[in-house]
Symmetry: C2
Subunit: 233 residues, 2 copies
């Protein structure tokens, strides 16, 4: 189809489609005349992917370019492609101060104790270290003994987290799926299901808070409501 | 203590401390002279909180101000304070197009079916709608029937998500804790444990991917490694 039709079907404004084309985020169409090109289903899929990353995933154009490079690099097997996408979206700068070094060693020990297979250089290790340092600094209390460990702060999350991750990876297409399909499922999984989990957690926290801090009985099958009740408690 | 000491103990540069003071993110110290003020443990705690939000949580200064206003508003009970903090950090703009309306109705039905107590106006509903619209647009496939529902895409996450949320809320200080302590625990919980869950999930995904796409046996108690092995598979 022509570029105007691609814009119409995808719902992406024509100027944005042209911007993605100029920027190489969308591969060029097939030339059909001196000033015309034709676009197919692969263009539509790619356009939707780029738009989802930028508009919903909050991914920068520079990051999208890196992600797409990994997706198109046929020398990467599925596991390495997933790792490259994760690294691009994780982003944290390692530091050299003593607090950081101590926390990083704790994070490494925490991951090792769980038996997880995670590259020593995975940026997510630095990101978790960053969060641990901040939590320790904020929770620091000279009267209450030593700093909390990664195991103390994060250990209780692990069974649920492993369940979610295993389910996500199991949902990815099998080895027979075309590479492009698997690549897109991987990118979507990391860029959109990540925010989805965070948002579901926000909703579940509100529910758990209502149940702890307000007097609300368990919902019966009959009286489920969407709105938030205003109990007398 | 004096402002220079506050900077030293917290590790926050003096210029940043002064900026937070001018900006009202840090309450003024007690005047001890024409050009001097004294700061106590509450200032140190607040300084660490602001820094963690901005540097690790990626929260904007404007959002921090809103969060602190909720924290200091004594008319809010614990549940409403948690809700206000969540709303400030959730952020999504509702839209009026038909795709959005359909998806939003699906999200509402999904939450209602689970029996969750979530305000009808909670921004997290809009955020989940935004993600659902993006997933539907990207996964759209005319040959494979109707759009996936929220239940189909997100339902499998719910048991683990409920477990995490219940555990987090249970970890908050009880009704006897001073309001400031509870407020800080709530803000930290949402601003830092949220990213922690996302990061733990990234690590767990890498592990699950290694186990699915590479040939790795279950770790024995003896041979746990931090680094990523390079299997022959």
């Amino acid at each position: 189809v022509r570029i105007s039709e691609l814009s119409r079907v995808s719902g992406v404004p024509l100027a944005t489609v042209k911007f993605y084309l100029r920027d190489g985020l969308l591969p060029p169409g097939e030339r059909t005349g001196p000033n015309q090109a034709s676009y197919g289903p692969a263009h539509l899929r790619r356009l939707r992917l780029v738009r989802a990353l930028v508009e919903v995933g909050g991914v920068s154009i520079a990051q999208v370019r890196k992600v797409l490079t990994a997706v198109e690099d046929e020398s990467l097997d599925r596991h390495d492609m997933l790792g490259t996408v994760q690294d691009t979206l994780a982003g944290a700068e390692p530091r050299t101060d003593p607090d950081w070094q101590v926390a990083r060693a704790d994070v490494d020990a925490f991951i090792a104790a769980r038996g997880w297979h995670v590259r020593a250089a995975a940026p997510a290790r630095d990101r978790l270290t960053e969060i641990l340092v901040a939590l320790r600094a904020t929770l620091a209390d000279p009267e209450h003994g030593p700093d909390p460990t990664a195991e103390e702060l994060f250990g209780h999350y692990l069974p649920a987290i492993e369940e979610i991750a295993a389910s996500e990876i199991a949902h990815l297409p099998g080895p027979d799926a075309p590479r492009a399909v698997l690549a897109e499922a991987t990118v979507m999984g990391i860029a959109l299901f990540g925010p989805a989990v965070k948002t579901l957690l926000t909703l579940a926290q509100e529910n758990a808070s209502a149940r702890r801090f307000r007097t609300i009985s368990e919902p019966s099958q009959k009286s489920r409501t969407v709105g938030f009740p205003t109990p007398e408690a």
